[in-house]
C-alpha cells in the first residue's frame, strides 16, 4: 500500500529535492505535490481536478507560498473537522521564532527547518519517515464520508 503524503511547496527545486530524499528513504511513499495554498485545499477537499485525490496520511507544509500562504492553509486544515486529524508538519527554510510560535498556535503538529546542507536535509527526511510514517500510528479507517 503506498503511503500518501501531500507536499505543499512552491519551489520546484525544493520539490525535486524532497522527492529524491523521500525516494531514498522509503519507496512506498507516494508524494503528492501542491504548489500553492489554493491547490492544496482543492486536493484535500477533493475538488475539481482533485476529485479522485486520496486522503494523505501526512501533510508537509511550507509557510511562504503564493496566493494563499502556509499559515492560512494550516488554519483552514485545522478548522476543518474532516481534515484536522491529518498530521500537518511545517517544513520551511525559516527559523524565525515568530513563525514557530504562530505555527504551533495554529496547531501544527510540529515544525521543521530545512537544513542548508544536502545530507542534513536527507537525514531530516529519513527522520520524518522513521517517525511519522513508521513509528506513528494512524487510525485504520482511511476514508471518511
Amino acid at each position: 500500500m503506498p503511503i500518501e503524503v501531500l507536499l505543499v511547496e512552491d519551489s520546484p527545486g525544493d520539490v525535486r529535492l524532497t522527492q529524491e530524499a523521500f525516494r531514498n528513504a522509503n519507496r512506498t511513499i507516494h508524494l503528492h505535490v501542491a504548489s500553492d495554498g489554493v491547490e492544496a485545499m482543492a486536493f484535500l477537499r477533493r475538488e475539481g481536478v482533485h476529485s479522485q485525490a486520496p486522503r494523505p496520511e501526512l501533510i508537509l507544509l511550507d509557510l511562504n507560498l503564493p496566493k494563499m500562504d502556509g499559515r492560512e492553509v494550516l488554519a483552514l486544515i485545522k478548522k476543518d473537522p474532516s481534515l484536522k486529524t491529518i498530521p500537518t508538519v511545517i517544513l520551511t527554510t525559516s527559523e524565525a521564532e515568530a513563525d514557530i510560535v504562530k505555527s504551533y498556535q495554529l496547531q501544527a503538529n510540529c515544525y521543521l527547518s530545512k537544513p542548508v546542507q544536502l545530507d542534513a536535509f536527507e537525514n531530516l527526511v529519513k527522520s520524518i519517515n522513521d517517525f511519522w510514517l513508521t513509528k506513528v500510528k494512524f487510525p485504520q479507517q482511511r476514508q471518511n464520508g
Partner: protein, 705 residues
C-alpha cells in the same frame, strides 16, 4: 564720670553736714538758753510785780484799817502806821510802775490805781483831819463815806485785774518756756541724731569706698597681670605707674625699671603727646578723643630695637586723678602678614592677567571687581566698562543665583557647592551675541568678604565638536544597524538559491560520478566544493551578524553552566580527539547565555582542533580582576601562534592555515571578539609557537555580589 566725682566729695560733704548740724544744734540751744534766761528774768519780775501788787493791796487795806482804827480809836499809832503804810503803797506803786514799764496796759491800770489810791488817801486825810479836829461824832458821816468800800473794791478789782494781767502774762511765758524747752529738746535730739546718722553713713560709705577701691584695685591688678597684651598704666605726667608681666616681656625691661619711667622711653612718639593736657585741652578731653581707637605706633625695647605696635587706651580713675591704661599689642606679625598679603595680591593680579582663560572676580553683590584682559576680549567690553557691572550682564543666568547667599544658605555654603565643578552656561557679549561657556569657580578671601573667582572658558568649538561627535556616533550607530540588518537579510536570502546550487551539484556528483568523463567529475567536484564553502561562509556570516542583532540583554548567569553546555555541544570532537578538558570553578557573570556558550564553544573547539598529534589538553579558569571583573583564561597545549598574528587572527575570515590542513572559515575568533566586545570586554592571546596558547577575556561580575 560725674558720679565718680560726687562720690569722692561725699565724705567731705558728709562731714560738713554733720558739723553744720552740730552747729545748728548748738546755735539753737544757745538761743534757746538765752531766751530762757531772759524769760526767767521776766518771770521773776512778774512774780515780783504780783508780790508787790499783793503787797500794795495789803498795804492799802492796812492803810484803810489803820485810818479807820485811828478814826475809831483816835490813837496816834494808827495814824503813824497809816502814814507809813501810805508811803509804802506809794513806794510799791512806783516799783510796780517801773517793773511794768513795758506794758502800757498795766501802766494805764496803774494810773487808774494811783488815782484810786489817791482818792482813798484823800478821803482818809479828810476823815483824819476831821477826827482830829472834830472828834468822833463829827466824822461819823465822813466815816460812813470813808467806810464806803466802793473805792476799795475798785482798787481791789483793779489790783485784781493787774494781777490777772500779770498772771496771764506769766501763763503765756510758762507756755512759751515749755514750748521752748520742748523745741530745744527736739532740736537737740534731732540734731544729735542727724549728726550721728550722717557721720555714721558717711563713715560707712567712706569705709566701703575704701574697701571697694582696695578690692577693685586688687581686681584691676589681677586683670592687668592676666591680660594677653602688654598693659601699661600711665599717669598725667607721662610716667608708668602700673604694668603687667607681658609689658616686661615685650619691652625687655624688669618691672622696677619700668615703674616710674616716662612712657616716652618705650613709646617714643605718639603716646605722651596724645594724652598730656596741653594749652588747648584738658587731659580728660585728650583722653576722650583717643578712647576706643587702635593707634598704630612704634615701640622701643630695652635693647634699642623697635617694633610696630597698636595701642588701645582707656581711662582709669584713681585717687591721684585720671590715669590712662594702654593695651599694647605687638603687630609685627600682623604687619608682615599684611605685607605678605599685599604681595600675594600683587601676584594674584599678575596671575589673573596672565591666565589664558577669561578671569572674573565677583563680590557678594554679584558685581565684577576684578578681571583680566582675556575677559575684555571674550566679552567685547573694555576693563572700565566691566568693573562694577553686575555679572548678570555678561552671564545672564546660572552664575549669580548659584553664588549669592540667599535666605537658605550662606555664601560659603553656596560657594562650597560649586567649587571644582565646571558649569556650562551661556555668556553674552557686548554686542548681544551669546556663546557657550564653561565656568570654574574658586573662592577668594579678601577684606571685603569672600569673593568668587570664575575662570570663563569659551567652549564654542568644544560644543561644536561634541555635537559633531554625537552626530557622527548617531550616524555610525545607524549605519551599523543597517549593516547588521543588511548582513542578516543578505545572508538569509542568499541561503535559498545557494542551497539549490549546493544540493543539486551534490546530487549531480552522486548520480553521475564516473558516468561522465573525468573532467565532468572534476568540474562537478569543484562546483560542489565551491557551493559548500559558500554555504559555510554565509552561515558564519549569519552567525557573526547575529551576535549583534540577536543578542539579548546581559543577565546574571552561571559561566560554569555555559561552559558545560559548550562542552556538551563539542562532545563529538572531544571524543574523537580524546581531548582532556578541565576547568576551575567558574563564577556567575553578567552575560548573554547563548553567546557565552558560543564563545566557549569556539575557543575550546579551536583549542582541540589546532593540535599536532599530542592529546589535546584544555584548561579553563577565571581570576578576579579589579573590583567588578573576572578574567577568563582558555589554555591549551596546541600549536601556538606567532606573535605577529596576534591581531590578525581576530579578523573576519582570517586564517593561518591551508584549508587542507585545518577546516574552518576563519570566522570563529572574529565571532568571539564580537561577543566579548559586546559584553564590554577585550579578548587577547598569549602564545608561543609550539607551546600552546592562552586566550583571555574579561566579563563583568554579576551585580548581586
Amino acid at each position: 564720670m560725674q558720679t565718680k566725682f560726687q562720690w569722692s566729695r561725699k565724705p567731705q560733704l558728709a562731714f560738713g553736714s554733720a558739723v553744720l548740724a552740730l552747729l545748728v544744734v548748738g546755735a539753737v540751744s544757745y538761743c534757746s538758753m538765752v531766751e530762757s534766761s531772759e524769760s526767767d528774768l521776766r518771770v521773776r519780775r512778774t512774780y515780783e510785780v504780783l508780790e508787790k501788787l499783793q503787797g500794795l493791796l495789803a498795804a492799802m487795806q492796812a492803810v484803810e484799817s489803820n485810818a479807820r482804827g485811828y478814826l475809831l480809836a483816835g490813837d496816834e499809832s494808827f495814824l503813824e502806821a497809816y502814814r507809813a503804810g501810805r508811803a509804802t503803797t506809794e513806794k510799791d506803786q512806783a516799783i510796780v510802775r517801773s517793773l511794768t514799764a513795758d506794758s502800757p496796759g498795766q501802766q494805764q491800770r496803774l494810773d487808774a490805781l494811783a488815782t484810786l489810791a489817791a482818792r482813798q488817801f484823800q478821803l482818809a486825810e479828810k476823815v483824819v483831819g476831821l477826827r482830829r479836829t472834830n472828834g468822833l461824832q463829827a466824822t461819823s458821816a465822813a466815816i460812813q463815806e470813808a467806810s464806803s468800800t466802793q473805792n476799795m473794791d475798785d482798787f481791789q478789782s483793779m489790783v485784781g485785774r493787774m494781777q490777772n494781767e500779770e498772771l496771764r502774762w506769766l501763763a503765756l511765758r510758762k507756755e512759751e518756756a515749755k514750748r521752748r524747752l520742748t523745741q530745744t529738746k527736739t532740736v537737740l535730739i534731732l540734731g544729735t541724731f542727724l549728726g550721728l546718722l550722717i557721720t555714721t553713713v558717711a563713715g560707712w560709705r567712706v569705709q566701703r569706698d575704701n574697701s571697694e577701691n582696695r578690692d577693685s584695685g586688687a581686681k584691676y591688678r589681677g586683670l592687668l597681670e592676666a591680660a594677653p597684651d602688654a598693659m601699661v598704666v600711665v599717669d598725667q605726667g607721662g610716667k608708668i605707674v602700673l604694668l603687667n608681666v607681658q609689658a616686661e616681656k615685650q619691652f625687655g625691661y624688669g618691672r622696677d625699671e619700668l615703674l616710674g619711667l616716662k612712657v616716652k622711653n618705650i613709646i617714643p612718639d605718639g603716646f605722651a603727646e596724645r594724652l598730656i593736657a596741653d594749652g588747648t585741652r584738658t587731659a580728660a578731653e585728650a583722653l576722650a578723643q583717643q578712647i576706643g581707637t587702635g593707634i598704630e605706633l612704634i615701640a622701643r625695647r630695652k635693647n634699642g630695637s623697635e617694633f610696630p605696635i597698636e595701642i588701645m587706651l582707656s581711662p582709669l580713675e584713681s585717687a591721684e586723678g585720671t590715669l590712662v591704661t594702654a593695651a599694647i599689642r605687638d603687630i609685627s606679625v600682623r604687619r608682615a602678614a599684611e605685607k605678605h598679603l599685599g604681595q600675594m595680591e600683587g601676584r594674584y593680579r599678575g596671575l589673573l592677567e596672565a591666565a589664558p582663560d577669561a578671569m572674573v572676580v565677583v563680590n557678594q553683590s554679584g558685581e565684577i571687581v576684578l578681571l583680566n584682559v582675556q575677559a575684555e576680549k571674550q566679552f567685547g567690553y573694555s576693563r572700565d566698562e566691566l568693573l562694577g557691572q553686575k555679572v548678570k550682564n555678561i552671564i545672564p543666568e546660572g552664575f549669580a543665583e548659584r553664588l549669592i547667599a540667599d535666605a537658605l544658605r550662606s555664601v560659603e555654603d553656596a560657594l562650597a557647592q560649586q567649587i571644582g565643578t565646571g558649569i556650562e552656561l551661556v555668556g553674552q557679549r557686548k554686542n548681544g551675541s551669546e556663546f557657550p561657556i564653561e565656568i570654574m569657580l574658586s573662592p577668594l578671601e579678601s577684606a571685603e568678604g569672600i569673593l568668587v573667582t570664575a575662570a570663563v572658558r569659551d567652549i564654542t568649538t568644544r560644543k561644536k565638536a561634541e555635537a559633531d561627535l554625537l552626530n557622527k556616533v548617531e550616524e555610525l550607530n545607524r549605519s551599523n544597524e543597517e549593516l547588521g540588518q543588511f548582513a542578516y537579510i543578505a545572508s538569509h536570502d542568499l541561503q535559498e538559491p545557494l542551497r539549490m546550487v549546493a544540493s543539486y551539484t551534490q546530487l549531480l556528483s552522486r548520480r553521475y560520478k564516473g558516468k561522465l568523463d573525468s573532467d565532468a567529475d572534476k568540474f562537478i567536484a569543484f562546483a560542489v566544493d565551491g557551493a559548500s564553502r559558500m554555504q559555510r561562509l554565509i552561515q558564519d556570516l549569519l552567525a557573526y551578524s547575529r551576535v549583534g542583532t540577536k543578542g539579548t540583554d546581559l543577565i546574571e548567569i552561571s559561566s560554569e553552566a555555559a561552559l558545560e553546555q559548550a562542552l556538551l555541544n563539542l562532545r563529538g570532537a572531544i571524543l574523537e580527539k580524546g581531548a582532556l578538558v578541565t576547568h576551575d570553578s567558574l563564577p556567575p557573570v553578567l552575560a548573554d547565555e547563548m553567546q557565552l556558550i558560543q564563545l566557549f564553544q569556539n575557543l575550546v573547539g579551536n583549542a582541540i582542533k589546532y593540535q599536532s598529534s599530542a592529546i589535546p589538553k584544555v584548561h579553563i579558569s577565571a581570576a578576579k580582576n579589579g573590583v567588578k571583573k573576572w578574567t577568563f583564561s582558555v589554555k591549551d597545549n596546541g600549536l601556538g601562534i606567532d606573535s605577529q598574528y596576534f591581531e590578525k587572527i581576530f579578523g573576519m575570515f582570517q586564517r593561518l592555515h591551508k584549508r587542507q590542513e585545518f577546516a574552518g572559515t576563519g570566522i570563529g575568533l572574529a565571532i568571539c571578539k564580537k561577543i566579548v566586545e559586546r559584553h564590554g570586554g577585550r579578548i587577547s592571546v598569549k602564545s608561543q609557537p609550539g607551546h600552546g596558547s592562552t586566550f583571555c577575556f574579561a566579563l563583568a561580575e554579576s551585580e548581586r555580589e
